[in-house]
């Protein structure tokens, strides 16, 4: 398994750019995580939890009608069928079990789309932990249903009113709260970003996606996929599916970032494509930033990809060329979402639609019959408001055939 150096660096990326006050907690977390993964009781408990509670392993599904249209075999890793509707349940069950093991009784989390907040609140309910979720005020409006879910699950949702009032500001607030409560509280970070050991730790809990998919693929086809594709915001679902394939040199890895209004408009969240190295939220990585290093607001129709940074391991995979990263704009993602709905009867999350759209675009340049594995990281129920708004489905006459 490709781990970072002892300081948490992958090449020039990663590390710890946080106040000294947090270092002891990060050291403790690193120790606890390493010991937990080496403890058969812990891994057995986590596996059982995933199976019986999380609905894992998720199915691998050959999307036949979609494949006919695409001219390549499109295989979907159905993370949308997991409990809480996304890959994120893997991360939160792992970290919540680790929280319990560390003797802490409270978790805090940041959330963009609300999916990680719902997953965190779910895990907190399951384990009987207190839970506070920080969510940009702008996002609480965009994703009101998820706010209701979190509150129903017993979590406190704190709307964040600083800065751009989105995911990055929610992360700032969670980090501030963590500094003040670190003795009793675990920061259950939602993606493969942040200071070491978070990027590695979250990847370790999400990598089951790729471990399962690789085995399922071999069993079903006797071979490995030609391409593995996933959407990339912070990058947890992508690292989750990429990790198992990193050593398979013939498997091409593609991450699709949010192109927003179009990469050339400057209104996007395509952090790696933009290519500016910086330090944000505790790690050196690619950051959307201005000439001075002030963070630039990202833009995407997908709240879950609307983040101006990216996990440092992705930055490293991009810099070394092991994975390729390309932008997919809002329109292309929404077209893929609709195509999947109409060919397969699957309504995926707008985040996941970015990965699918990128894969369908890539399919045009692949040999016919190539096998493409797409991580369908989440389901689309939460996004119906955006879909209605985007397609005008709420208009008096059905404009579905636009």
């Amino acid at each position: 398994m490709p781990n970072p150096d002892p300081g948490g660096h992958w090449g020039e990326f990663g590390g710890r750019f946080v106040p000294e006050a947090l270092i002891a907690a990060l050291d403790e977390l690193e120790r606890a995580h390493t010991e937990a993964l080496a403890d058969p009781d812990f891994t057995a408990e986590l596996d059982a939890l995933g199976r019986e509670y999380g609905n894992l392993p998720s199915p691998l599904y050959l999307a036949e009608r979609l494949s006919q249209e695409a001219g390549v075999e499109v295989w979907l890793k159905r993370e949308d069928l997991n409990h809480t509707g996304a890959h994120k349940i893997r991360n939160v069950l792992g970290q919540a079990l680790l929280t319990k093991r560390m003797g802490k009784r409270r978790i805090i989390a940041e959330t963009g789309a609300g999916q990680h907040g719902v997953a965190s609140a779910t895990a907190a309910a399951y384990f009987g932990l207190e839970c506070t979720v920080y969510m940009g005020e702008e996002d609480t409006r965009r994703q009101a249903l998820n706010v209701a879910r979190m509150r129903l699950l017993g979590a406190e949702v704190v709307p964040v009113t600083t800065g751009s009032r989105t995911l990055k500001d929610a992360m700032n607030e969670a980090l501030r709260e963590w500094v003040a409560t670190v003795d009793t509280t675990h920061y259950l970070i939602g993606s493969v970003g942040g200071p070491h050991p978070f990027p590695q730790l979250v990847r370790d809990y999400c990598r089951g996606i790729g471990d399962e998919a690789r085995a399922q693929f071999l069993e079903r086809t006797g071979a490995l996929p030609d391409v593995v594709a996933a959407c990339v915001g912070g990058g947890s679902n992508a690292m989750g599916i990429f990790t198992a394939f990193l050593d398979d040199e013939d498997v091409r890895l593609y991450g699709f970032e949010a192109g927003g209004d179009g990469y050339d408009t400057g209104r996007h969240a395509a952090t790696i494509t933009a290519g500016q190295i910086g330090v944000l939220h505790g790690a050196r990585t690619f950051v959307l930033q201005d000439e001075d290093g002030q963070t630039i607001e990202s833009h995407s129709i997908s709240a879950g990809l609307d983040y101006p940074g990216v996990g440092p391991e992705h930055a490293h995979l991009a810099a070394t060329g092991r994975a390729a990263y390309e932008p997919v704009d809002d329109a292309e993602a929404m077209a893929a979402l609709e195509k999947l709905a109409r060919t397969e009867g699957i309504i995926c999350a707008i985040e996941s639609a970015h990965g699918l759209a990128g894969a369908l675009r890539l399919a045009k340049s692949l040999q016919p019959g190539s096998r493409v594995l797409v991580n369908l990281s989440g389901r689309g129920d939460k996004d119906m408001g955006n879909v209605v708004e985007y397609y005008g489905f709420d208009a008096p006459a059905d404009k579905g055939d636009h």
Binding site: F17, P19, E20, A21, A25, G163, V182, Q289, D292, Q294
Partner: protein, 262 residues
Amino acid sequence: MRTAEAFAKTGAEGRAALVGYLPAGFPTLADSIKAVDIMIDHGADLIELGLPYSDPVMDGPAIQKAADRALAAGFRTRQVFEVTEAVAGRVPILVMTYWNLVERYGVDRFAADFAAAGGAGLITPDLIPDEAAEWIAASDAHDLDRVFLVAPSSTEERIASTVAACRGFVYAQSVMGVTGARAATSAAAPELVRRTRAHTDLPIGVGLGVRSGDQAAEIGAYGDAVIVGSAIVNCYLDAEDVPTGHQRLAELTADLAAGVRR
């Protein structure tokens, strides 16, 4: 002026130094220069200029609001050198900055331009010595002080390695929390200063939450410097206009300066 000179003076007077913090460019660029002059006129021994940043995770609402205002008014990193140049000479001028801004400007270039402006050193709240190789080299090359933080949660080992990397003074974050979060009295602060002193002869500054001369006197009894930030920013945030803010700052600084002389 060098940091060590200021501490030599306050040490000789048998008192703690008063360190005043204000973001450069707040309340305006010109008024941030005026505000620093007011602080020096009324007894500040060192000045910390904040470099406004979009994502200040160590700071509470007051300092973030001030930074946001400076950025909204178009503040640019290079302007911190203008402010430094305008106020340098009488007391040491340090810049407190989140690391990305320095890295983006170019670490060595930042050090060179800051030293040329008459700056004394940097305080780096989100840079630990473990990640600071480039800054340590640049600060050596340009003869700048480097102030890293220690915290109540720091192990003995980390306190030792952190103070070994410091030059000028050591910044003791006295409570686990963001700037301005709570009252200055903290049981953790004297203990942290005691633990830190066991590892270094450098002066130890105590930050976070000081609002009055009385609190400054209390911290000055065990710390070598009393660092005041949010209360200074609040002089302007709470004031109806900038002249009123200047007036409040003059009064607050005089009170704090009397506190460290008790």
